[in-house]
Amino acid sequence: MAKNAIALSRIEAVAPDQSALGAARKLLVDGKWPQLERDAEHRFLWGACQGSGATPYRVVVEIADLGAKCSCPSRKFPCKHSLALMWWFAERPDRFAEGAVPDWVNEWHGRRRHTGGEDKGASSGGPPKSARAAVAEANAEEAAPRDPEAAARQRERNRAARELSIAQGLDELDVWIDDQIDRGLGTFGARAAEQCRLLARRLVDAKAGGLANRLDHLPTVYFRTPEARRHDVLLEQLGALHLLARAYRQQSQLGEALVSDVRGGVGWTLTREELLTGSGTLRRHRARWTVLATRRELQPDSLMRFETFLAAPDSSEVRMAMLLDFAPAAMAASAGPGLVAGTELDAELAYYPSATPLRAIVAAQHASQIAAQAPAPTDDLKAAIDRYDALIAVNPWISDWPIAFRDARIELSQDGQCWAVDRDGACGVPLAGEHAQVLLDLDDVALYGTFDGRELTPLAANSALGPFWSSHA
């Protein structure tokens, strides 16, 4: 092996999650790297990676411990650019020109050592001064090479520091929610964007990225809700945030699966390796999965979020799954999960641990073919809504959730709203989405859609006119 080579397994180990690795892989293109260099001693790699902006990101990696720094705004550490730089070196070391270590690399390295020493004392002598310090400690402690036992102790200390930081973030969140109640939900709209952004930043500092995302998204949820329902939706959102904070503090009283939901909601992530080997993971479920739809949504952090919904017939119901992928917005046209609605996959999925398992990854794929239609649901509309309610009772943090029901007819209300109703018209859901009207006047429809408790956005349907795949429309 070449001097100070980087094994791919090491890169996989430091990657924050599978999507970061996937995104890094897409950066292994010559044209994206105007600069790739290393020093003569093989201590550092550095380069410039062209992102979506005009100025390339500056990336540096210390080969010994894979400590990294990038000028991109990603909240992930290491980011995809850092991972890509490591990956380039692992696969094509000849691409790196030898050069003198630039000042900015030396400065970073100096800071890194300096911070590491300072925080070492802090962590041994008591709690860190602030959340930022805890994060710095986590980064700094990564830097030092050590034996496995020492590394395990280090990870435990990092974890403890993050828990402390999150605890502080949760307290801030509660104060913030109480402040909103004090001021009144009626005036929330006027201050929503600024207030949510401020708290989201603090929660990022507190390493509670999941909560930060919820806060970031809250103004969007609030303003896209019809005015008459905004207060209720806001109440639900604030209530869910507090409930999440409270549940996090009382994890010992929760079941193992729900703890996974709570920790995931706050911001803890699982790597693909952890997911496939972890004790909380459901067994891999092999089935003939029908790809119902792929949705894309641009997030506030400029990442495109891809949700792919799958369904497979199970013993007494339809089993659902959702694959989640991310890609930079600039690359969204060519990126994405690569699964086409209306395809049937013979595949094994591994679910993320959850009290209400839905998110999954494809553990193994065996074959694919065009699906004749989506699997036939067993529930009628009322049963599907009851099932949704039962899921909320178990996991109150679910929101848009895929449901499926049979025997629906699609009609119009007097105000022009599309509704899916059961045969006797007693139970119904309004349909959202710009394409719901294509289902109008159809009877005996088996409908798949995501339900938020108030509206159903169609994903796919079986009808007398054949299968409907919303992603094709």
């Binding site: 009144g184 209530g239 409930l243």
Partner: protein
Amino acid sequence: MTDEEQARVSDEPSLERARIGLRHTLILGTSQRPLEVPRWLAGENPRAGRLALVAALGLRSRFDHPVPPPHLRRAGLKHEAERLMSREARAALRRVYGAKKRSVPRAVTLRIIDVLAERGLSLHPFDFPLLTDLLATNDAALDRNARMWRALTSGNTDNAAPPDAIDDANWTDLKPAERAAYLRQRRRAAPAAARELLAATFSGETAAVRAQLLEAMAVSLSGDDVEFLRGLATDRADSVRTLARRLTSRIAGTSEFDERMSTAHERLELKSVGIIGRKKVLMPKLPKDLAEAKVYAWLSDSFAGVSTTLLAERLKLKRDVFVEALVDERLRALFLANALSLDEHDTALAIAAALEPLEARRVAAGARDALAALEPTHRRAFWNAFAPALEAGGALEERCVFAAELYEILRVPPPSALLDPAATGKPFKRWLEALTNDANRDQPEVAEIAIVLADRAHRAAWRERLNDVPPATASTALALADLFDALDLQSNKTT
């Protein structure tokens, strides 16, 4: 059960009853209206109690689901699975309109709509969201569900359903252009009944619609219409009064007719030109001080609606000589429109056949409404009439562009010979060379028009030719070839 648990159970109904009040308090803000939280919920910490209450109320709200309104209704779409395009045709159609790189030529879209209508096939409703360019034409030949979808998605959820069959009872529900087309059709079959239909609703229409509908009276005009037309002399719109006078002047035996024929005769100058003076030329006697901007109005006032046959008789010219003598393009355009509207088809065909390529495009565009109003059998003949102009252009792109323009007007397929690959070999090679030599040149519409207007046998040859065309230029044309092949296959299976 502990005392605390007992307190919770007994308090839950009261929490539910107080929900609305609590919600109101939270909207106002606790600084405005203090919140009383049950002790079992608040414990020793008032803030924790408030937050717990928010969580409880928020969670409870999650279980509120909408209830369907009592009067749901059908939108009026008619789903006939057996009439839907085949899966293969749908896939090809989505390739044509799904690429979104550029818009599909209107003639191509109209040809697709017409072929579907001829074969009694419908677009699949599930494809509507992808076919916005096609649906945007809102053409009368577009299938019923597609037109309804367009109305529904543009917010018109009331009376979006067009009638299944148009008759005298429901024709007023149509759009003005469709009503005029229906009136023309009725005039051909039963002129008197059509006139009565028009008279029954005429006064309630706007001036623009009255004029548009009155134009339809030009079909099968006869002495029976004189009374109705003269009755419009008191119409409140000048445009309607003028049009009624002009229509009356087309009816032989009326004083208006005689006056108009005399005026037309007087305003034409017949000259003999050429070395031996055997060639006749007809020129308008334009007033010397007439401004250029007013020439067309003067010509129209002098000759619009005048019978070419009767005018030729007055000038003592045979029809062919009369047509040959129309050397002024403006006169040719006017007399073509006159011949078309007065059912003098042979004259109209003779005028069309005498046109040069560029002039033919202008004249055809000018006579668009009159050509479009013809019966399909008559419209078909105009492909042959324009054939000399179509073929004289030489370049394939000119031929295809003019053919596309004519198709938009005539809406019947061209004769097989027009796009016979054997007859277009050289123009095709020249076009291909131009594409190859000029990297910036991109004329996909040429290939697309050729594919959709060629008949079935020639389409296969055109598809072969596309193998030589750069893929980016040929991609939509190839999708169109797949579409038409799939539609042919579906029609064969059905028959």
